[in-house]
Structure formats: structure tokens, C-alpha cells
Symmetry: C2
Subunit: 435 residues, 2 copies
Amino acid sequence: MSKNKNPLTIDATNHAAEGGLLNRRLFLNSALATTATLATAGAAYGQDFIGEGQEDWLLYPGTSTLPYGDRSRFEVESVQRFIHDYSEEFLALRMSTYVSRTPLDHMLGTITPSGLHFERSHQGIPDIDPNQHELVIHGKVRQPLKYDIEALENYPTVSKFYFLECSGNSAVLLNDEPTDQSVNAIHGLVSGSEWTGVLLSTLLDETGVGPDAKWIICEGADNGMMHRSIPIDKALDDVMIAIRQNGERIRPSQGYPMRLFIPGFEGNTSIKWLRSIYVSDRPAMSIQETSKYTDMMPDNKSLQFSLLMDTKSVITRPANTMSLKRKGLYEITGLAWSGKGKIARVEVSVDGGKTWADAALEEPIQSKMLTRFRSPWLWDGSPAILQSRATDEFGRMQPTRDEHIAARGQNHIYHYSAIQSWGVGTDGEIKNVFA
Amino acid sequence: MSKNKNPLTIDATNHAAEGGLLNRRLFLNSALATTATLATAGAAYGQDFIGEGQEDWLLYPGTSTLPYGDRSRFEVESVQRFIHDYSEEFLALRMSTYVSRTPLDHMLGTITPSGLHFERSHQGIPDIDPNQHELVIHGKVRQPLKYDIEALENYPTVSKFYFLECSGNSAVLLNDEPTDQSVNAIHGLVSGSEWTGVLLSTLLDETGVGPDAKWIICEGADNGMMHRSIPIDKALDDVMIAIRQNGERIRPSQGYPMRLFIPGFEGNTSIKWLRSIYVSDRPAMSIQETSKYTDMMPDNKSLQFSLLMDTKSVITRPANTMSLKRKGLYEITGLAWSGKGKIARVEVSVDGGKTWADAALEEPIQSKMLTRFRSPWLWDGSPAILQSRATDEFGRMQPTRDEHIAARGQNHIYHYSAIQSWGVGTDGEIKNVFA
């Protein structure tokens, strides 16, 4: 039951861009069509401040607190973490699943719950006993040293909010035709967390590094012994050995008991289950930096060590595969991030990029962390194409898909960061489109 | 195995205050006693960057990803949420437990995992079906309106990091003798989260409020129908109807599917399972604002509606009931917060308040949110008394316990915010002391 007589009139002071985009400071008393319903006034409530209703939970005491508070039973099954085309045959063949996505459509802030952080491993999640696990720092150092989890916790620590994104995120958009996958399936290989740990520079200060130290080669304790090479300048900057995520020990799927965290770099370099850092004068040139994680360009040469993540944004609501069930007020919201620093601006369009409105950015805007953007939108039932376009503090702006392909071709699968377009039909159905 | 020959020498550039407090930018190559151990150099590792070890998790593939990533089996049992003097008889008598603490000693950042947020209910946790739950705003309004969870999600939302503290937190320190409870049991009724929701001012803009609206009376849908009265000025400021916590739907123990969140006010005013907001010209004068949640002063008169939380801090590591197992480098760390705004300064002392050093504050410092502070400390084995003292941006500084009692007496149980003292013995044992 809508309460409004003339629900689709935009007050001139509310106009932000074409297609119904409103200013952030909108006036709700100006008869915008909302989803509130009229309540019985006066008589039913009288001067009594007590609400109405006789549901079971009002009549009987509730349950006790638990050692670890769980989600509602109405929420547990509603989260989609795996892309929907994992057929039973596929799962049977692989026997195990080493990838999961963050359900971006279920998030409204910037923090990803640790249990819903995207996951990617190359040989499954190891079940590590922390009492048997050590990190060794060796190679071109003054003194090689070992650290277990208890030792690390006595060092000076830092806590930082950072995004992590797999460089293969969104790669399906390089296909010739738009996929009908959900926003989670297309873009869900990105998450945001508060990471606490010891700066690697602190530990390298203690081990000392030789003058010919140019790279560190970092290795995990999983069965795949995942390893990557990182330039020493980055290693001495903001890289940390993370031991906590969102206020508790890192979960096994995120690298328990300790992981490397490399802010702003492609996700796979943040080695989980970290057990060895070898200081070297050269990179390892491992499979993960030769046959994988390189980017083939139109001239058939490949970029190597393309580690820094680009400026990027995506509208997470409304998005494929949701639908708009009525005309009226909606909030367009999503996430923006840059591997180089802070997000400076996010613009939103609902007419396929013809006109743009500045979205509101939630403070505090943090370097190399997800930034939440929002724009109110009054949908009048016309077809629309929703887009967001982010710019970071260094002026790096997201390209269109056409611009990305013109510059880099389609023969690569990493570092796709172009503008996402969601098409809205007159029936309210939302589809992934190329625009 | 310690690697250092002369581990307890403090370089003059490292000195910050008496008793071994060091500057944040300490020099680890200056032979401070750390918990690192020497690793085998060269020969064992050679020019090979591969770490050593043949643990099971290196030899066999790990497990698949889960729909919701869980904690390590080595962590699940280690978190203490309930105060340790809940005897079996007590539990049998009550039959249920309506209080849990945040394990502050397990946190190193500022975010509390939703499942470890402190809990307090007056009649247990209701099991609410969100499809049957509505919030009604009524009373002195232009038009009474109802909102379900789906309706709220279309409104303009905000995401903010806020602490929540029960006003009864730390009250045991008003006893004549120091308790031997853990830091969690004494101070664990405080937590920090990212809360996402709709500003109440947005909804009151839509319902309209009459000129004689002075208070809102807010009620929960639990069996206790918990309700509190809030001044209209605060209601129109930063109060939100929260629908998400830390990136997912609020858990039942925190008010699923929606709760009131009142930044900086005593915790019980942030009504969980919110179902009614009645706009009124007077407060309800309910049991929760007359016989409870008032503060008896030395003149035997009680403060009423003492809603704003004071400036406060506590050292969470090292703290009772931990112990220092060796001399050498430690990190002193804890949390500071103010119900009025941002934390401006935290000082740390290890000599019972004779000398103080400024602790490092982790950015971003956010208004009405936990702020993490840290100081490196070289313990030489002498007795020590660890203290922290916070000041907010309005100059409100924590008092000593003696100052608190001189001003407010001991005949109250809410709003105790004095400086906490942890005594360290020569054996490394840490005790709660009055100093």
C-alpha cells in the first residue's frame, strides 16, 4: 500500500542528473514514492506508546546467549558464495571447490565478514596447528630468524582497513557477450577487512637486509606451496604479516595462523599460511609469475609483475540478478577502490553515461580500502542503464569497456577494471549489458 | 632461544618514559630482547628459497571452501565470553544466560566480530521472522507509518563505525577490594562495529513531527518489551535504524532484523528488535529509567537520564589474567573511546602514573568509536603498574579511581570510567590493583 498520491514528482531541489537521480540531501516530505505503509493513527495506539502485535516472540522468553553468536536461521541459506554454473558433474570431477565469492549484494557497508571474504586457493585449505607453524626470514639477511604466532604478538602491531581483490575478478566481462551471472559471480572476488599484524619492515629491521636485496620470495604452507616475488621497496613499505582479521584470529580459509598482506597488489601475492620469506637479488620466476598472472597485450607480448590494482567501482544494488518490483525511490549503492590510494570521486549515471551525478562517499575514505558510495534514485518505470565511474586521488579514472579493449585487447584475464553497466527493463528486470 | 647477548639495554633514542616505555619508532636492530629465534642460515636453505618442514598440511591437499568460512579448530574453544564466577548453581537457578562479554584480550584491532559482540537482554533473544516484523512510527507525527526490512533497504542509508558500551561495564571496580577477574570480565561490555542503516531523521522527515515532540519512546519486540526514552534532539541527530552489522544482516543477539543505534549513549538505549517509536511530549518514565539506569550520588539523590558515555580507556594486553613469561620486548595495547566525539590523546604509564608516555593512536580516529592505542615496552623484570589515561577532543580526561569515588561515591553501578591499573609482579603475574 503506497501512501503517496503523486509519487513520481521530483522537486527541483532534489534533481541531480537525468533519469531520476536525486541529490543526497533529498526531502522525503516532498511526496516521493517510498515503501513505507500507512499505520493506524491515534485510535489504535492512543496516547499509549506500546506497539501492537502478539507474535510468539513477544509472548515467551527468548534463548540464552551463545559462546559465539550465530546468524538468524532466516539468513543462513540466503547467501550465494559460489558461481551458479558449478554443475554437479563439475564438482564431482574436481572433487573440491577452491573458489568462493563475496556476496556483494548482501553487503551495505565496507567490511566483509571474515566468513564471507572471497577465497581462492590452489590446493585447498590446510588445517595448520599453530604450535607447529613458524615463519622463517632468510636469504640475503644479516641474521636469519624464525617467528611463531606467539612471538609475533609481542612486536609492535598495526591495524589497517584494506581491500583485497583477485586480479581475475570481473574477467568474464572480456567475453564477446554479456554473461547473465549475478553481481556476486562477476565481481565477488573482492572484499574488505580490518587486518592487524606486524609490518614486515619491522622484522626486516631485525634480520637486516643486504645491499643486494632486490626482491622477497614468499611461500605458503599449503600443499601447493604457493609462492610469489615482491619488490623489496614494497616489502619495506606497507606490507604486513597479518595475524588478525576483523578482531579475531585469521580464519583457516584466509591463512591461519599468519598471512602476508600486500595492500593494493593483486590478491594472490598476499600469500596465505605464510611460512617463508626469502630475501633475494632476483624474483623466483615461478609458475604464478610466468604462465599465470601475466597479461597478454594486443601485440602478443605479455605484461609481467603487473601487481598494482587499478581504480574500480561497481554498483552492487540494484544489480543483476535483482529486479525492481515497483516504481519509486531506491538507493543506488556500491563499492569503489584503488590499489594506489584513496578514492577521490564516484559518479553515477542512470542513462548509460550521458549524464552523471556525484555520488555521496561514506567517510572515512581510506587508502587501499573499499569506499561505499550512494545515490538516491526515483525510478519512473522507464528503461535505464546504471553505471558508476570511480576516480582515485591520483586522477586514475575507470575506462569504459570499449576503451579497455581498445588499449589492452581481449586476450587476457587479469586486471579488468572497466565501467559496469546494469540494464533496467520496463518490467524492472536487471541485466548485465555492454553499453 | 633468545638471540640477544645484552637484551635489556635501551638505546637513548628509544626512551619514552620511565620503567622501559619505548618510542613507537623503535630500532629493532639495537639488540632489544625479542621473541624471535635464530634460524639455520645458508647451508640449510642455500640459495633455495623454499622453506623447510614436512608437516601433514604440506603433504596433502587441504579442504574445500565452505559457504561460511569458520574459525580454526584451534581457536574455537579458546574464547572466554562469560564471567568466570557463573557457578553451576547460579546457572541452574537462572536457567538461562542473558549476558556475554567481548573477549578484549583476543582483539587487536577495533572491530569486534559480530558473533563476539557483548550481549545483554532482559528476557532472552527472540527468534523473529523478518516477514512478520514491522517498525511503526506513531504518536505526535503528521502521518504514522510502518516499515519492514525490505522497505527500509530502499531508503538512503549510512554506514558508521561506533562503539557500544553497557553503562554497567567495569562496575565491579567500585567494590572495596580489587577483583581478580579477567580484563574481559571487568571491561568486556564494550564492542565496536560498522553499523549500516537508515537515519531516524530521514524517517521522521517522512512522518513529520509535531511542535510538541520532545521525546521518542522506543520499544523492542522481545518478551521483555524493553523500552527507553530519548530526547528528540538526539533522535534527529545521529540515531539510526540499523539493519546491517559488519557487512551482513544483524545477528539475532544484536537485534535482528532491525535495532535502534544511538551513538555514544549507554548501551541499553539502543533498543534491539525495534518495533515501535512513539513520538511524545514526555518520557515514558519506565522501570529502565527510574529504578534502573540511574546513578545514586553521595547526597543520596540520583542522576536520571545520564545517557552520555564518558571518556574511557583500558589496556587489554598485557592485562589480568595474563602473565609475562620472560623479560624483554612487549607491546602494551588497548582501546579508548568517548561518547561525545573523538579520542585526542592516550597516555601510558608503567610506574603507576608517575611518568607518562604518549601512546600511538591508530588512524583513522573516528567519533564515538573505539580507538586502538599502542606503546612498545621493554620489561626488565621489575615490579610495574600499567595504566592508560584517555582524553577526548573536548578535553574530557579519565579520572583516577580515587577522584571518581570522591566525586560520585560508591553507591552506584553505572558510568564508572576511571583509570585501570594492572600490577605486574617480579614473577610476571598480572593482577588487577587499585593504585
